[in-house]
Symmetry: C2
């Protein structure tokens, strides 16, 4: 098996066991790993945890593509092995330590991180630990289910540890690896269609930097998607109806590519295309490709789907692995600095759909901090797409916690995306296109159409009081702006009882 | 004179007087004007005001490139003739009416407006009113001191009114007019250096749409720059020292182009290059070019300066007009969707320097709303550059109103740019590079290095209380977050007396 996967034969000498390999990682090592919801190394994290349990005391600085789940972020955080983590995570245990200040975390726009690594802004790339399905005759890497920042990490690393995974060799050819030049003198990123391939199917690597190769039978932990519920379905319907309406009235060209964030609602939006006859030949230029993309390919509705990673449920993963040849020509996996490139996103005119924790009456968006202070996951690629897309949707169910939290609030408790970058606000109740409206008109419409009926009067009262007390272009009463949040923190319910 | 300026002879038949011309503008007309701090029409606004004074009651919807000053925004707002205004203004009288809700205003990222006009999102372009220095033999327009959105307005307008201004004919050749294709199928914008010319020196126009031509002797009202004061100079020094340090330590390439916002501080930053030996062959890829650019060209320090407009003091304007030939090869004036293009800004790796009303301890930025509600000017191009630049500085004097307002606050009262997009915070007291820091580290540094000494203890107290009361990734106490603002509104001073 390993003989087939390691095609540059002298590298077979580097095959070793995880406990030996992980000695290259010591206290203070900057560790740059593959992984972007999938495709992360599994053996080295386990070996590090074992070493810690054996009494070795050390902390590493961990950089990935994006989130890596329990198998990396979870177990390393729990073992207390992380000093720094960037650029994104979504693990509960890690989140708690970040919020207690025990793990240092900075939340980066995903499109920027590779360039920061290349310019040295994140310190030396001591060790790269990357999952691959094969090493080519030239000693280049074939990644697994994600690309993320791996090409740059491999290029910049002093030492490289490779985990050869057992995923099907037919994945070879799905990746498109292109590291852009760095400014000031560089050519455009030559992508003109979602499916354009501009690079190589493998990651260039200096084989002399490889210090260890491991053979892994571990699998990515799979995503669990809930069947689209009524709320997600309604949100998806609002979006598709709106876009179809805009196209029919000649206010949008018909073939703009779609980006949809990560999670149930994002998956539901793409699932919405399944029974929709208006949309055919769909282009997807997104970050993470989920189950719905496979469904749409099966139906012959996708022209091309570009992303940096595939996050599939167990069932979809099996389907994909059994018939990769059917999907491979439609799917392109790219480095995240390309999948999320502001240059390309703006050029293609991406329709961006991203979720929020909360949205305020003027369309300001909180994607990251619960009650203003507690980090949820991070901004991820949402800013790359929202700010530069041709049309940006922000979607959220109108309430959370069984109705005790309104996702529409007078003022969001943290802002990640400003009203200037958000075009359309959507909940299950309705949708507001903010583009032709003043902030006051936005407030009136968002309260009437997007807020949950239980909160409309409270929001309207705030807005009317703000007009009287402050006036201005965006009337606010600063002493009352967070009254919903304060009430929730005091009573566990944003509603007045 | 007019014979020389109107080189397509049959258009001479269209020469008329302002009062006749302005009859093409009626109640409800969407009027799209040239102008971006300079280069706006002067005669038609005056004629509209005269008509209103004679008893005609009407309101127009006014779209420009950016701000147009008293001669347009001021007199039209005062006369009550504006229903809608987009995308940016900086006029006191207009601002007051916007804040009272008497003029409808939406604050747009400047790079996006032309595309919205082309896709019909702003309604029909009934009448374009544009200043030009000449009409070519083919019937194309040579703009004056700005380009802004004029190429698209002229392309989309049903009727065109032209004000031929008396500015020197030698301006011809300074403009570079390129309307990008619209998505989804388009090629890159082919700019690889600040000075690249990719279009034509004139704006294409269908001469059959011209309904009136006026001859104007009115001049743009000139900018008044204050001699850089100590505060502006210190801010400039901090920025140039930092960038030089980064370049010397190989953390930045040496030739990234510079963008500097509008106003005294922005002008001071560029003036800082004058006595600085480290920086030579400077590329400027900015929005508005001010006096300092001419000084730097005189010193042979500028390789190329790109912008969408020139805003010069009276003195600099005379110098420029007397020797245009010396400056013309160094300066390129482009449509604002090109000068501010996220695609180009990201590709070139622009160093972006923009001013703020206030910044909070975590680096969130308020560029638009005083005390959360009252519009100041608008976001302008700051989001185009901050979000996509290679290195983004936010600059502000540490205090305003004689020390009664701290520009560093616990939480900004409105967010236009999130901490994820802002790299370096600068006041006259110092500078914090937020890129390698967690939010808590940013707070500590911003309080110590950027805040005015009179406010450091107050900010530190808030921050320490927030850690104790809320914890989290960005500790905040929502009930106290606006305490500085509330104190100012109650007592006229953010300090505790």
């Amino acid at each position: 098996m390993l003989e087939k996967r390691i095609r540059l034969k002298h590298l077979l000498d580097k095959v070793t066991d995880p406990d030996t390999a992980c000695r290259h990682i010591q206290n203070g090592t900057n560790v740059f790993i593959s992984g972007f919801t999938a495709g992360y190394p599994k053996l080295i994290p386990q070996a590090l945890v074992r070493r810690a349990k054996d009494g070795d005391r050390f902390k590493i600085n961990l950089f990935a593509g994006a989130s890596t789940g329990d198998a990396v972020d979870g177990i390393l955080a729990e073992a207390g092995l992380i000093a720094w983590r960037r650029p994104y995570m979504s693990n509960r245990g890690m989140r708690e330590k970040i919020n207690r200040g025990e793990i240092r975390f900075k939340d980066d726009h995903l499109s920027r991180l590779s360039a920061q690594v290349r310019d040295g802004g994140l310190g030396k790339a001591h060790v790269a630990v990357v999952e691959a399905i094969a090493i080519t005759e030239k000693g280049h890497l074939i990644p697994s289910m994600s690309v993320g920042n791996t090409p740059t990490y491999v290029q910049e690393a002093e030492k490289i540890i490779i985990e050869i995974s057992s995923e099907p060799p037919e994945l070879e050819g799905i990746h498109d690896i292109f590291i852009p030049e760095d400014p000031p003198y560089r050519m455009p990123i030559p992508i003109y269609r979602s499916g354009d391939r501009i690079g190589k199917p493998s990651i260039e690597m200096d084989p002399n930097k490889v210090v260890a190769i491991l053979y892994s039978r571990e699998e990515d932990s799979c995503a669990v998607f809930n069947e689209p519920g009524t709320v997600s379905q309604r949100i998806a319907e609002h979006i598709l109806d709106f876009v179809a309406h805009e196209i029919r009235h000649d206010r949008m060209p018909p073939a703009l590519p779609w980006q949809s964030g990560v999670g149930d609602v994002a998956n539901a939006v793409l699932s919405g295309f399944i029974d929709n006859d208006f949309f055919q030949n769909i282009d997807i230029y997104s970050e993470v490709l989920q189950d719905a993309v496979l469904d749409l390919i099966d139906l012959g509705k996708v022209r091309a789907a570009s992303g940096s990673a595939m996050t599939l449920s167990h069932k979809a993963r099996n389907r994909f692995f059994n018939e990769i040849y059917r999907y491979r020509d439609k799917i392109v996996l790219r480095p995240v600095e390309i999948s999320n490139s502001p240059e390309v996103v703006r050029r293609l005119g991406v329709i961006a759909i991203n979720t929020a924790i909360e949205v305020d009456i003027y369309g300001q968006v909180n994607s990251t901090h619960v009650m203003g202070s507690q980090l949820m996951n991070g901004i991820g690629g949402s800013g790359d797409f929202i700010r530069n897309g041709a049309l940006s949707f922000i979607v959220t169910p109108s309430t959370a916690k069984g109705g005790k939290i309104s996702a529409i609030v007078p003022m969001v408790s943290h802002v990640d995306h400003s009203e200037h970058s958000v075009d359309v606000v959507v909940t299950e109740h309705g949708l507001v296109d903010t583009r032709p409206l003043t902030p006051r008109q936005v407030a009136e419409q968002v309260i009437k159409r997007c807020a949950h009926p239980n909160y409309r009067d409270l929001l309207w009262d705030y807005y009317q009081q703000a007009i009287r007390a402050s006036g201005g272009h965006e009337p606010h009463i600063l002493s009352e702006a967070f009254s919903f949040h304060e009430r929730f923190m005091a009573t566990g319910d944003m509603q007045v009882r």
